[in-house]
Amino acid sequence: MSTQMPEVEVLTDFAVREHRSLWLDAWRRLKASRTAMLGLVVVAVFLLSAVGAHFFWNYNAKTDLDYSSKLLPPNLVSTAEKPGVHIFGTDKLGRDIFTRVVHGGWNSLRVGLVAVSISLIIGCLLGLFAGFFESFDMNLKEKLVLMCGLGLVLGLFPAWIARQWYQTLLFGGLGAASVILEKKLAYVKLRPVMFAAAGALLGGLSGLLLAPLVGLVCAVVGLLIGLLLNKPVNGKAFSSITMRVMDILLSFPSYLLAIAIVAFLGPGLEKGMIAIGVVGIPVYARLARSAVLSVSQKEYVLASQSVGEGHGRILFKHVLPNILSPIIVQATMGLASAILSAAALGFLGLGAIPPEPEWGAMLGDSYKFLSSGAWWAVLFPGLAIVFSVLGFNLLGDGLRDALDPKMRIN
């Protein structure tokens, strides 16, 4: 390069467009989008009313009962013939629907947050690892952990048959062995046979202590496990197994799965949260995986790997930050759909335990009075759901546009 005049350096700067960080830029775009702002406002109102009501507006649902004022239509001003102000009317037990709608917000909020964090955390971790190990092979430590775990899990089966839980440890050990011996046995033709035999012995002998037949079965099972373990699973296999499990979850209709889980865990809002959370896992897992896959090909990741950074460091320093934006968007939208699902469960009577106010449940209880014209008992909880969900969707949509790199070009 040629030497340059010092003041040129200085002077050139004003010509250069000032630099903005992705997040700042995103925020600017968000502010620019009116719909996103609308969403933000709605969400804010929702959050404030929910939290405010929960902490500062004392309402005891347990004792709230007044037959005299049941199923009253909305009444804005208290008059002689219409005493008592119920801007949303009252329900079957004469409870003020407005009060219950506002307090119901707290429950929807809880459900949304808990459910989303469940599916977010589990799903993303699964997706991260799946995607990561699909594009980078595991190091010894990771293999060791994986195979030990695999051994333990598979070991559960013979252990369960023979009621000898220590068997899991045996097979866990076998898994570890296959990693440690991988190099040594790399070229041994008989390796599968050896491991099969080992497995058969481990299972068979311990089984025999119980009964001959148990021994036999355990031996067969052990043999199969041995075959499975004879060669350490590589990242791709790990990933494809994880994703296959996700497929299985996905091939159930979401509500049915949620209903089944609630039926198993027992009713109640908390159980509902878990159910919805679990159902949501595959979505995040897939999202995270595909994001990781695309990021892993990026130079900076390859670079960081080539300078020999540890996997953990690469994963959380380089990969994770770069897949955040789609996940944030998904999470915001996820909040919306979680609130919806919660309402659906409540509607089916599997949600919150009465008299706890919950929007879906309020709908479910009131809609049998529809034919007698008690529209308010159905309308307002529904509107509450629509507005809060719409808020999160608007916001999420705005976020997507704001965080989407494609948008940054034109």
Binding site: R34, K92, I353
Partner: protein
Amino acid sequence: MKRKTVFTVFGLLIVFSMLLAACAKTGTEAPAAPATEVPAAPATEEPAAPATEEPAAPTKDTFIFGRGADSVQLDPSIVTDGESFRVTGQVLDSLYKFDQGTTNPVPALAECTANEDATVWSCKLLEGVKFHDGTDFNADAVIFNFERWRFTTHPNHYASQVFEYYEAMWGGFDDASIITEVKKVDDYNLQFVLSSPMAPFLANLAMDMFAISSPTAIQKAGEAYGTPAGGCVGTGPYKFVSWQEGTEITLVSNEDYWGEKPKVKNVIVRVIPDDSARFLALRAGDIDALEQAVVEDLATAEADPNLQILTRPGLNTSYLAFNFKIKEFQDVRVREAVAHAIDIEGLISNFFGKYGTVAKNLLPVGMLGYNDSIDYWEYNPELSKSLLADAGFPNGLSEVTIAEDVQDADGNVVYTAGQVIPLRLYYMPVTRFYFPSAKEVGEGIAANLTAAGFNVELYLEGDWPTYLGSRRNGLLMGLYLLGWGGDNGDPDNFTGYFFGSGTEPIKREGWYQNAELAAILQEAVTLPDPAERAKLYSQAEQIMHDEVMRIWLGHNNTPLILSAKVQGYTPQPVGAENFEYVFFSN
């Protein structure tokens, strides 16, 4: 996005909500002035396709009954649900039947007389009656049916079929059966020989489950008898035509019926699961009659000149039960405190509507042994508080202690003695004929109790099967709601069923134990003389009341809403209504 879009949003939302508000507004008036809108009905709001309306001549010839659930099976001997009997009751006859609108058995296909100790009943069968498939009705047919039900070895007593009621009513199968023999005297005479005297014999004969099916039909259809494919064949006023699963069952009148000829040609029994949907269908003229409606709809119906409401005398009782494995509940004062804490009056009038009556007996009003001298529980939170104080809980009760270990079906301990759990009120996850809007009732009671110092926590055990399962194993650990609907008019079917085996704790009944009561009930079932039985049963009621062993809430007189045009429909306290008397006025 551009500014306009924001306006569009608000536009949309506002329009949307206005729309709803608008239609909603008319809604409030709808029940008030239905008279104005309904007469126009047939003309304007008839959604049924023209196809059906063609024959809509002055007198309709199709009676359509709307109900909440489909029949399980059309072989009455193997089912337990009313919806099955509603249909089989039209197609099949029993030897006896319950007289119109009462619970006293009168001769139908047979007339029977007992010997002095009521152990041998000789019956004279109607002659010249034929099943719909042309088979003759005679002693052999009757014997075939009874033997099929009784003998597990009988070729048509399929392993896949459970003849519950035979077992329940006649003491069991094979040798356990109280009917030891059905003797054929000649083609139209036979004798029932019983192992022990049995007072409700005729009442049992009259039950829908013991209706006589055509032997040839059963043999022909085999296991498929009673399924949508097989249908059912009897001697009844209507013949089975078709069964569209989950939708409707179609019957056609039996022209050579032995009794009074049916007036309406076709009967359609239609499934509309949702209560309000069913009511709407009735108002729209899609159906002519329905059973089970929410209280508010009943109010609407009363105001509607095109509708009439009939009530079926409630042969049922809903109650609040205690689990006696809870130490606190073993103290009668606590139980009485609960009784005084609940505004039963308010519950019934609000959730059962005026078709419910407050209960003070387990036995429904007017049944043999009904004890009218018992007083209703007074709603008195203060009294309840003081009782609670006497029992040693001056500042209310919010936690309870388990008296002794409780095990589940698999024998592992679920509750350990001395364990302290919150005071729970288990509410039913479904509405039953004896419990309209069960959830609201639960909420109501919870509110009452909380106000009176019982800090109850409403508890949902799970869905219906879970609830029933836990109840069977005495695991509803607290207060719980349930009810019972009678199968025949006999008190034994109530009190006997519940507490007859009370010499040791009855798991199914919240571990209640009362040998004295059990003894009385066991005696009552064997006495032939109604008067003496009545005395014993009302004595039993008294004991139960003094013990406050359960709190009877209400009897629900099931309301039936019919189009005003429907005539001659008489609600039956037990068993299926008889559609053959139904006709249309215009």
